[in-house]
Structures are given as C-alpha cells and as structure tokens.
C-alpha cells in the first residue's frame, strides 16, 4: 500500500468514524441551553427580540448536526476537511467573524445616532437659554 493510499484510507476512517453518543448528548444539551438562555434574556428585557433569530439559528444548527450525524460528514467532505471537528471550528470561526463585523456595522450606526442626538441636545439647550435670557431682558426692560 502506497503512502497516498494509506492517507486516503485514514481520511475515510476519519470521515466515517461515528461520533460518540456522549458528544452528541452534550451538543444537544448545549443547543437547548442556548435556546433557554436566549428566551430568558428576552424575558428579562436584556436581549431585544430582533437580535434572537441568529442565536436560535445557531442552536438549531448545533442540534441538527448532532441529531443527523451524516450531515457533518457530508459537510466535511464538501469543504475538503479531514476531520468533522475541523469543519466545526472552521464554520464556528467564520460565524464569529461575520457576527463581529455585523456588530461593528451596528456600532457605527449607533455612534452616528448618539452623536446626532448629543448635537441636537446642545443646540436645543442653546436655543432654550437664548429664549430664556431674551425673556428675562424683556421683563427687566419693562
């Protein structure tokens, strides 16, 4: 057997190796825990409802990969990775990168809104002070 053939065999072994039951149970418990945490945060009004779909999606994704084992094997094969754990890390990091960028965009928007609000406040207070001092001048002049 050549080294290439040995490598191919080894790779096949990695791809078809069944996940241990405990790993799957832990993953399912984690996804349930994520759903419960998200719901609890929404109920406490710490997390706004419009930010929840992405986390529900993550929970469903984790649960689906655990409940349907061939899914992860197929995904690993599709991206050309050797082990299912590499695939998980790869997509996990991609997801985190995406969400960080998304938050940076939202932060930029919020920064602009806060700046505009603070400016509006400064201008309004200036107008109020000008009106009050004009009124005071009028009163003392009378």
């Amino acid at each position: 057997m050549t080294s290439d053939e040995r490598l191919a065999e080894l790779r096949q072994l990695f791809l078809t190796a069944p996940e241990s039951t405990s790993t799957r149970v832990i993953a399912i418990v984690l996804s349930l825990l994520l759903v419960v945490t998200v719901l609890w945060l929404v109920r406490r009004r710490t997390l706004r409802a419009e930010y929840t779909p992405i986390w529900m999606g993550v929970a469903i994704g984790i649960a689906a990969l655990s409940l349907v084992p061939p899914l992860l094997g197929w995904l690993t094969h599709a991206v050309g990775a050797w082990t299912p754990s590499s695939t998980l890390f790869f997509f996990g990091e991609l997801f985190l990168l995406g969400i960080c960028l998304n938050y940076a965009v939202r932060l930029s928007g919020l920064t602009l809104q806060i700046k505009n609000l603070a400016q509006e406040l400064a201008v309004l207070r200036g107008e109020l002070e000008a009106a009050l001092s004009a009124e005071a001048r009028e009163r003392t002049g009378r």
């Binding site: 700046k115 505009n116 400016q119 400064a122 200036g126």
Partner: protein
C-alpha cells in the same frame, strides 16, 4: 447674520484671551463656543465673556464640535460662518478678511492659509511631507490649495448644509471634507492668515496618530470620490 464658531475642549486657560481679542476684531459676529464636554470652566468662562455656549453632554471630538456649530448656524439663519481654534493660534484680526469673499458671494468656502506669505509659519519636516502629499492628492482632483489642513475657515450656507450631513467626520475633518465640497461644485479658495504663538501640545501628531490620520484621510477621500461617482452614474 454672521457667526464665529470656536470649538473648545479644556481651554479655560487660553479661550478668554481669544474671546477678548474677538470682541475688538470682529464685533459684528455672533460668537458661538461649542464646549465639547470639557471638565474645566471653558463653557462658563465663554458664557461670561458674552459668547453663546453650546455644550456637548460628553466629548464627541473636534469634527463633531464643529458640526454642532454648523447645525446651530443653519438653524439661527447665519449667512456667513467663520471657524477658528480656541487655543489662540489663529489671529482674530484675520476674521474679517476671511469672511469678506464669502459675504461678497465670490467664494463658498475660504481657507485661511498659513503659506501665502502673511506670516512666517514653519512646519516640521514630517508634517511638511504630509501637507505636500495631501496638496498633491487634492490637486489630482482639480482642487489647488496651499494649506488643506488649516482649521481657520469661512463658509456660506451651501457649505454648512453639506457639512451638517452624516458624511462629516467626528474626529479630523480636513482633506476629505474639502474634497467633498469641491466635488459638490462649491467654490473653494484661500486667503493668507497669520499664525500666532500657541502653547498647544498636539496629541494628533504623536505616536501612531499620524499613521492613522493618513490612513483615515485616504480611506475618506476614496469613499467620498467613489460615492460621488456612484451618484453621477445613478443620475
């Protein structure tokens, strides 16, 4: 009505002298001091000197302080706005000469240039390289100015309306906003100004700040020019 805008942050030591000099040199201007969240007596001293004080609830940055003044000037119906720094490096005696071309309708935006022979202002080596680089960049877009980073400027309502928009940066509005004004068809020109001695300790030109400054300016110039192109193509 003419507005004189001074953005100020922690300037209680130098601002009163500037305001006193302005009372003599530019008595026909409404002096507006934007206190950018100072923790000292900047705002109170300005108010005592008779200026209109607009106070930010927290520090927003030099560009944002300028923009608050623009928004005020637009709302109060000012026809001409002159902006100058609070640290006393701009000479109040130049205010009238800077405002004149705008008031006469000859120009929309007038930059007070330190390099047109009115004084003997000298820049350090690295800053001169930066200035020359941005000069060349602007002239590549058809805008010829000798002092693109001068904060001493005069403008009319057309410029104010443009600068009150969301594209105006909160930190350093320099080359990018000049280019934006130029590409919106506004007439940009220069007049000579003197620079006075100031005990300014510039944090902008220390450490990595100059590198960030050049990077940010290039990015803003690129964004401004590509936005304009998109708008033209869409039209």
């Amino acid at each position: 009505m003419k507005t004189l805008l001074i953005p100020a942050f922690q300037e209680e030591a130098r601002l009163p002298a500037v305001l006193a000099a302005l009372a003599d040199a530019a008595p026909d201007f409404e002096v507006v001091v934007v206190d950018d969240g100072s923790r000292d007596a900047t705002g109170e001293l300005a108010r005592r000197a008779g200026a209109t004080v607009l106070r930010h609830p927290f520090n927003l940055g030099y560009g944002a302080a300028l923009q608050t003044g623009y928004k005020w000037a637009l709302r109060s119906g000012a026809s001409v706005l002159v902006q100058m720094d609070a640290d006393g490096q701009h000479d109040p005696r130049d205010v009238a000469a800077l405002a004149a071309p705008v008031a006469a309708g000859e120009l929309d935006l007038v930059i007070g240039s330190r390099f047109l022979g009115a004084g003997d202002y000298r820049m350090s080596g690295l800053r001169r390289v930066g200035r020359d680089f941005f000069r060349a960049l602007l002239s590549g877009f058809g805008l010829r100015v000798t002092d693109p980073t001068s904060g001493f400027q005069a403008m009319n309502r057309a410029v104010l309306e443009l600068y009150a928009g969301d594209m105006f940066p909160s930190d350093y509005p320099d080359v990018d906003v000049l280019l934006c004004a130029h590409r919106h068809g506004l007439r940009v020109g220069e007049r000579p100004v003197r620079m006075l001695e100031s005990s300014r300790v510039s944090t902008l030109h220390a450490g990595f700040a100059p590198i960030y400054y050049v990077y940010k300016m290039l990015l803003s110039v690129w964004a401004a020019s590509s936005t304009d192109r998109r708008r033209r193509e869409g039209a």
